[in-house]
Symmetry: none
Subunit: 218 residues, 2 copies
């Protein structure tokens, strides 16, 4: 093959490879923590653990051998489409792919929120105090709320969201409306667990505004 005059010399290659290690920059706000590295390695691991050749993997995923090779060697950043084909073809679900890349499960994170020191977020019907708001990427979102609403009519429509929700009444008394059930009155100490996708709403029915704790799963 050509040697001295080729525009892409071996030297260039080496240099490129080195730079590959940390391709996060753009000094802007994004916290580009180095979560990168893993993907290619991970894919290779999985492929090998299934005892597949690139050829086979190519057949199953619909991606070219060459493309797979490049992905495994971190030479390219596959498009989302490609990632999906990969995941489908190799029978891995995407979260799994990133599970390792993301970070180890046995972290030692801890966040403490003193009473009343959460980040407050008011709405017409509730006054929410986000707890543990320092910690990001949580699996659950806890918040303590004061139920301002005094009538079901305060709600233009059902409140809905992804995930599941746990509710505990801390003080006062509320009426708990849900889309598929009769309303129920809950007092301090009563709790409920329900699907967030089901419409729901709370109304204070005690002298003072009731206080509740919510934990939502993501």
């Amino acid at each position: 093959m050509s040697d001295q005059e080729a525009p892409y010399s071996v030297l260039d290659k080496e240099r490129q490879k080195e730079m590959e290690g940390s391709l996060d920059d753009n000094g802007s706000a994004a916290d580009s923590r180095v979560t990168e590295l893993q993907l290619g390695k991970r894919v290779k691991e999985i492929r090998l653990s299934h005892n597949l050749t690139l050829e086979e993997a190519s057949r199953r995923t619909g991606l070219a051998r060459s493309t797979l090779s490049k992905i495994e060697n971190e030479q390219i950043s596959p498009t989302f489409q490609a990632v999906q084909k990969l995941a489908n073809g190799l029978n891995i679900d995407i979260p799994q792919l990133f599970a390792t890349a993301k970070e180890s499960r046995c972290a030692g994170r801890r966040d403490i929120t003193r009473a009343g020191q959460g980040r407050v977020h008011p709405t017409p019907t509730y006054e929410h105090e986000m707890l543990a708001s320092q910690l990001t990427n949580k699996q659950m979102l806890p918040y303590r709320s004061i139920v301002r609403s005094r009538s079901f009519d305060d709600y233009p429509s059902w409140v809905r969201h992804d995930g599941e929700e746990f509710l505990l009444v801390l003080s006062g008394k509320v009426r708990f409306y849900t889309e598929f059930y009769e309303p129920v009155d809950l007092e301090a100490g009563d709790s409920s667990y329900y699907d967030g996708g089901m419409g729901h709403a709370l109304v204070s029915i005690s002298e003072e505004d009731a206080e509740v704790l919510w934990v939502t799963s993501t």
Copy 2:
């Protein structure tokens, strides 16, 4: 981060009126189209729920406005790199991005537990009352516990388990021991969020046994 910028609004669910239906899967894991369609929509949802403009999002993620727009409108398939910047910049973890498609079970489950009516499960150090125990297959496990322990020595070893844990002190006062931090005293209303894999233990330090609420993610 974590300041006066748009408060994390998982709470702005009010505006999340529609849950899209209609995903035609052909059962097998072969077709990638299904999830593909979701990505843009999902990103847009998330961006809006954080009350961000494309401009803002661009600043945070380091991706161009135009690129973000194209992604949201499914005009391009972002590279993995781009997806990562997205996830970092918008503070979402990647699995969450992909979670949509399969989560189409907008069930309407609900379980109510009256104060003191949970299923009790005593241990030497705690007296646990499982809440919502009627409901199985939950993503979270809530329980209210009385902290019997009076000394750290009551614990033969650290308590550890999978997932993450949210802790709220309901009454009394506890000392919160963790594997990687100095012990902290918590009073009624104080809360903490931490990784279950990190050793932890509670000890009552008030006159009466303290009462706490725990929610563990699975």
